[in-house]
């Protein structure tokens, strides 16, 4: 995503790129909302047919499952182990590409598993009190993804971008392990907050 939605790749001006970031965020928001729609329907059906306790139990079980994946990468999870298809950026204009990348990533399950927090927060959304809270959470999800794109802007020359991304995304295995632990802690906090009706 960082190497595909970037002014060094699309050759657009920074003002236009800002529009591309908005386009990307819109794509993330729309399909994350769609994913929530499916989860919301499932949640409503489970609560109506059996009871709220079952949905709570399902959230706990899934949070444990994805947290196990955070801790051990061989635990299978229902995410497609692929990136966003490359042909998108070769077929569409930059703003459309940004939107389609966002739309692809916003679903969450069409690309590689990143952190268990994604699944946990999605399943916890039906517990929130209002639609405005749910929309706010989805907006923050999209905003978080935009930080990554904006931080990858490193000039309008491709070589410079690659070199400077080396600075910014310099691999830190210990840091990534800490992120995985943070994901487990976040999932645990989400489960705790919804079960105790904070």
């Amino acid at each position: 995503m960082t190497g595909s939605i970037n002014p060094a790749v699309s050759r657009v001006r920074y003002g236009r790129f800002a529009g591309d970031v908005v386009s990307f965020a819109t794509g993330v928001l729309l399909t994350a909302a769609l994913t929530f729609g499916v989860i919301g329907l499932l949640s409503s059906a489970v609560v109506a047919l059996i009871g709220r306790w079952l949905w709570s139990a399902m959230v706990v079980a899934v949070a444990v499952w994805v947290s196990a994946r955070d801790a051990y990468p061989r635990v299978p999870v229902p995410y497609r182990n692929v990136q966003v298809p490359e042909w998108i950026k070769h077929t569409f204009r930059p703003t459309e590409t940004a939107f389609l990348y966002g739309a692809h990533l916003g679903v969450g399950f069409l690309t590689r598993f990143t952190f268990g927090t994604h699944m946990t927060f999605m399943l916890a959304l039906p517990f929130l009190g209002s639609m405005s809270e749910i929309v706010s959470v989805l907006l923050l999800f999209a905003a978080g993804k935009c930080v990554v794109i904006v931080a990858a802007v490193a000039g309008r020359d491709y070589d410079e971008m690659e070199r400077r991304l080396g600075y910014r995304l310099r691999w830190r295995s210990t840091g990534v392990a800490l992120l995985r632990l943070t994901s487990v802690a976040t999932s645990a906090a989400i489960v705790f907050s919804i079960l105790t009706n904070l």
């Binding site: 927060f121 916890a124 993804k145 990554v148 690659e162 070199r163 080396g166 995304l169 943070t182 802690a185």
Partner: protein, 64 residues
């Protein structure tokens, strides 16, 4: 993502330092844990879920 072996380290340009900090896994982890603590202390399930949503988007820079 891989380390750029030809990139001198540490970066010196302010924009690189700032952008690097914005996607640094330690920064993300510490900020997330701080926000989570505040949300739990404030007793807000919304704030906890919102922190998780932002974190999972922000940390996607470190997808495998």
């Amino acid at each position: 993502m891989t380390a750029a072996s030809d990139s001198p380290w540490p970066p010196t340009r302010p924009v690189d330092v700032l952008a690097g900090a914005a996607v640094n896994p330690y920064v993300i982890a510490l900020a997330t844990l701080a926000l989570l603590s505040l949300a739990l202390a404030g007793g807000s399930a919304f704030a906890v879920v919102a922190t998780g949503a932002f974190m999972t988007g922000w940390a996607s820079a470190w997808s495998p």
